[in-house]
Every structure is written in C-alpha cells, then in structure tokens.
Symmetry: C2
Subunit: 344 residues, 2 copies
C-alpha cells in the first residue's frame, strides 16, 4: 500500500516532517514497509500545491527556506478543505496553528477528514484538547485512525505509550513537566538569573514566543493536561476546567528558599480522580530533590503514569522542536502502518 | 477471536500473569477487545493440566498457594512440548527458568511454537539473549508473533517502546540500569551499609537469590544488554561478547570517594556501534549527579535510547516483580491483539 499524504500547515512542524520524509524515504520503505507520496501541501501563507504523482518535497523545503513561499510550480486554488476532500488523499497531516478557544481551523480539517474515513495524524493541541471525545467517536464510526502523539511531549512517546504499551494497566494518576519553555526558565533561575532575564534568554533562543503568555501562564500545559485527562483517564474535562497557575510570580527568592529545604520548584501538571471525577491541575510545586521530576532540567519534559500493575512508569525526553514534532507525526503514521500491514 | 493460551512454567511470573487474567478478564474483554481462555498450564514441579474449555485459573492459583501444586482435577501426562503442539493452543506463554548457556527448555518451546505458526510471549531471557536472530527468522517465516517485552525492564515498556514507538528513528546508543538487585545494593551502600550487609538485606527482601552471582556479577544485565543490542540495534552478539564487570568489588569507600566528587556509582549497561560493529558492556560507572541515571535508586530500572531524531528518550520503572513480569506478557498479547482486531 502507498499512502497519499496531504500536509495541511507547512510551518516548523510540517517542514520538520518533510525533512524527515526526504531523508528517510528509502529507510522507511525498507525497514518499516512504509511507502508514501506527498500529494498536497497547503499553507495559508506559503501557498498550496497539489500533484497526485507525488510532490518533490526536497524542492519545497528549499523554496520555503529561501523565499518563505512554495514557488516554481503550478499553484492550486483549492482550499485546505477541498484538498482533504480530494479522493487521492488517504492520510491528512494536520499541523496548522493551535487555537485553544475554537480549535480552528484544525478542528474542521480533522472532522472533515475522519468523516470521510481518512486517517489523521496531528500535532495540533487545539482540536484534541477541545474535542477529543467527539473526534474519537467520528473516527470510530468511520474506522479511521486518529494519531496525535505530538500533542503532549512532542515526539517523545507519551500518548501512544499510555494507549498501546500500557494497555490493560489502569492509570491512576498522571504527573508531569509538560512545557519546555517554563522548565527552561525555572532551570535558569536555579542559577540566580531573574525571571525577566531567564525569559529574555528563552526568547533569544527561540524557546519562548514574543508574547510568552501561552507558556508562562500555563495555558499550553493546561491544554496538554486536558488531553491526558480525556485520552488516558477517560475524562471529559475542558481546558478551562484545569486549575491553572503559571510561573510569572516565581522569584529567585522562592527558588532559593526551596533549595535550602533541598527542594526544586517545577511547573507540575497533574491528573487524578476525585469523587469519581477526573481533575486536572497545573501549578508550580516545590518537589523533594529525590523526586525524579525534580531532576528534569532545561528544555526536557517528563511524564509519570502511576498504574495499578506497574506502579510508576516515567518517560523523559524533549518536549518541543520541529524535527521532534515531525517525528511524532511519522511515529503515528508508522503505528497506523504497523496495524495495516499483514506481517508481524 | 478467542485466544487459547498455554502457560508453560507456573512460577512467580506465570502466576503473576494468571492473577492479572483472573482480576481483569472482564475489563480486558470490554476495554481491549481481548478474549481468552487458558487451555493448559504446564509446570515441571507443580504439574500439568489441560482443559480445552478453559481452566479455572483462580482455583489453580489457590491450589499452588496452598499446596505448591496444581491439584484436584484430572492431571495430564502430556509433556510441555506436546501441549505446545496441541492444535487448540494459539498463544504459548513461555515462563520457564532462565538458562543463559543453553536457553533450555525455553528455547525448544519457543522454536516449536513458532514453527507451528503459534504466537509466543515470553519473559525468558535465555532464548532471546542466545537466539533472537534465529527465533525472529522462524517467526517471520511462519508469520507468528514473538513478544518478549518482559525480558528487559520487566513490565516497564522497553522493547516494544524501541520497536514500536521509536520505529523510524535510529537508536545510536543505549545506556541503562537493567538490574534491580544491584541497584538496590548500591543504593543501600550510599548510606554507608557494607556490600555484604546490603546483599543480605536484598536476600531477606527477596530481591537477591541465595546464590546472587547472576545479579552481582552482572550476568543478568549482560543478557539484557545482549537482547537490546541484537533487537534494537540489529546486532549479532553473544552474551559472552558483552564486556562484563559486576559490583562485588565496590566498597563503601569507593562510593564515598565518588560522592565527594558529586558522583554516584551505578551498574551501567551500554550498547554502541564501533567500527561498524555493535558492542555491549556492563560495568560500574561513577556518574555525574546531573545524569538522569545517577538519580535512579533502589529497585528502579531505567533505560535511555539515544536517537537521531529525538535525542535521548529515557524510560524509568520497576524492573522486576511477578505482577510486573505478568503484565509484560499481557502487554505483548495486547500488542498482538491490537494488530489482529479490525478496528483502530
């Protein structure tokens, strides 16, 4: 089987995937029995191209790097939705921007694709945080695959780890460091750097946006917490249900005071069940230095699933980056492929 | 589909699985679409029973706990191999003892089952460490599934994490703490306890055998290192190829000296490629206290895969225990089932 991919959104993540696909095409075919063509790329700024015979990805990556646009070949007037509807497409790669209020335009893209029985892989937190239960039902009805590994720890296995590797065990609580920007800032502050200077450094290094609110006020971590709550613990909570406190009030003094007690301040996400209801929280916590999460520094992320049969299982890895997020999309497609190919 | 399981070997691990299967039968059917009967149990000491309609597992667990034997129902004279050959059996659960020299009797059991196209799940390190490449070929030829998650890190995802979740990425090096007994002893020694006393405590707690050689002289970790080398990095090494040094020479003085330099002594397994060849080593190393592995204490195990696309991915969890190992077998069966059931 040859998969026909449409990449909707060609920013850092879409380009990260494209780069991997260019570099690993032969390896993926040989080692993973994964054959693909990219038949469409659609980006609201960079333009849209379609070629049912398969686009020359390497060329588009060059174009975009040089000119910020897809150029040099026949453009298409089709909208992203029309591309998704195109009968040649069987995997929709959704990597448009995250909107935690409406989920759009990703939500429409994903619904449309699943309703047509097309498989979807996405790193877009918006639609999954806002509408996982609904999307999951549409996927089930149309027997389509919905992969979203990259929404929580980027390419580091987190979602599929819970759904596949920990299947049959019951996850009782989840704790984690889910945001790289804030973990970088807090780690910098351990050395005496002020919050303001640590944030500036994070911005210079590209870890934080010009408007850092999504990260430092923990909206990003709250969205990821919602996803974990609904996907891994069968919750039905909204992003706004997550008790949320960011790191903007944390001072070097707070960190020093914690250190004197052999503690580290970390922005900790938590999901638990209370009176039969799933609850989520993100807030700064002073962790004992023997806590594994206390020793996760810089841009690393970590996630601990506390289970009935295995006690705690912790995974640690990078939680951001274009290649990492691109890999998350690939790993979802390979999970789909492992399911569809005949041999073990 | 209803799977018909034969459990070969009914020690701690086989009983751990049985306990989970008794407790979770309904949940596994409802949540994981996994339906099974245990049609045979065969143990060289405890006896053998067969019932094609499905054995009463709860009863056998009671029997074994009370009398150390399977009793009260018609015994069978069939050998373990004859049970594997029985046409009713389609999953062979191999949990006999580990023999790192011959792999027997597990090796014969697994070969026989795979050659008949039967699926195999095992926690038995011997056959996988000695003959993975051969077994993997037999499995491929007969399109049978060979699951062995529990051979490294017990139920904590390790093997399937590499083969499934990290598919498409390339693992460049592996480092880990793969043996619980030695990590417990070294952690005890951090508080000033002598090696001899720490070993005694480990024996009292059931973490170490009366003859602790397999653990403290790192044969167990070397077997796991071999498995990782051959399975995850496509090596073709023997257990005896692994450069091996145990912890019997480590003194409290060594540990104090390391601590003064902010280091921790851990028994570290490593797999890497050198001049195109895969190499394995297990030996005590003084790790910087900022190294994630330096902070893995007590009976916890950990494993870091260094990859091309994700940098380091680390998983931490329990590396031993009857329930944990039983869960490893279940997780392999659920991976098989996820592949065979039609829906996503």
């Amino acid at each position: 089987m040859v998969y026909n991919l449409a990449i909707i959104g060609f920013g850092t993540v879409g380009q990260g995937l494209a780069r991997i696909l260019v570099n690993k095409k032969d390896l993926l075919e040989r080692n993973n029995n994964f054959k693909f063509k990219v038949v469409a790329i659609s980006d609201i700024i960079k333009g849209t191209v379609i070629d049912q015979n398969g686009l020359n990805l390497a060329k588009f990556l060059q174009d975009v790097q040089k000119e910020g646009k897809i150029s040099g070949i026949k453009k298409s007037d089709f909208s992203s939705v029309e591309i998704i509807e195109n009968s040649a497409v069987n995997i929709v790669v959704e990597t448009t921007w995250t909107n935690l209020e409406t989920g759009e335009p990703g939500l429409t893209h994903i619904k449309k694709a699943l309703a047509l029985g097309k498989h979807v892989v996405t790193t877009n937190k918006g639609p999954i945080a806002l509408a996982y239960n609904e999307l999951s039902k549409i996927a089930k009805v149309h027997n389509a695959f919905l992969g979203f590994e990259g929404t929580v720890l980027s390419g580091t296995p987190a979602i599929n780890l819970a759904l596949r590797n920990l299947a049959g065990a019951s996850v009782k609580t989840i704790r984690g460091i889910l945001n790289s920007t804030t973990n970088y800032i807090l780690t910098q502050m351990e050395t005496g750097t002020t919050y303001r200077n640590a944030l500036k450094r994070a911005q210079t290094l590209g870890y934080a946006e010009a408007d850092p609110k999504m990260d430092v006020e923990a909206y990003d971590a709250a969205a990821k917490t919602t996803i974990l709550a609904n996907v891994v613990m069968n919750g039905n909570i909204k992003v706004t249900d997550v008790i949320r406190k960011g790191i903007t009030d944390i001072t070097v003094h707070d960190i020093r005071t914690a250190n004197l007690k052999r503690k580290k301040i970390k922005l900790i996400a938590k999901v638990w069940r209370e009176n039969g209801r799933i609850q989520g929280q993100v807030s700064p916590k002073a962790l004992s230095s023997t806590d594994i999460l206390a020793n996760i520094n810089g841009t690393l992320n970590a996630l601990t699933y506390s289970t009935d049969l295995l006690n705690d299982v912790t995974v640690i890895g990078r939680g951001a980056g274009g290649i990492e997020a691109g890999y998350a999309l690939l790993s979802d497609m390979l999970a789909l492929n492992q399911k569809l190919i005949k041999n073990f």
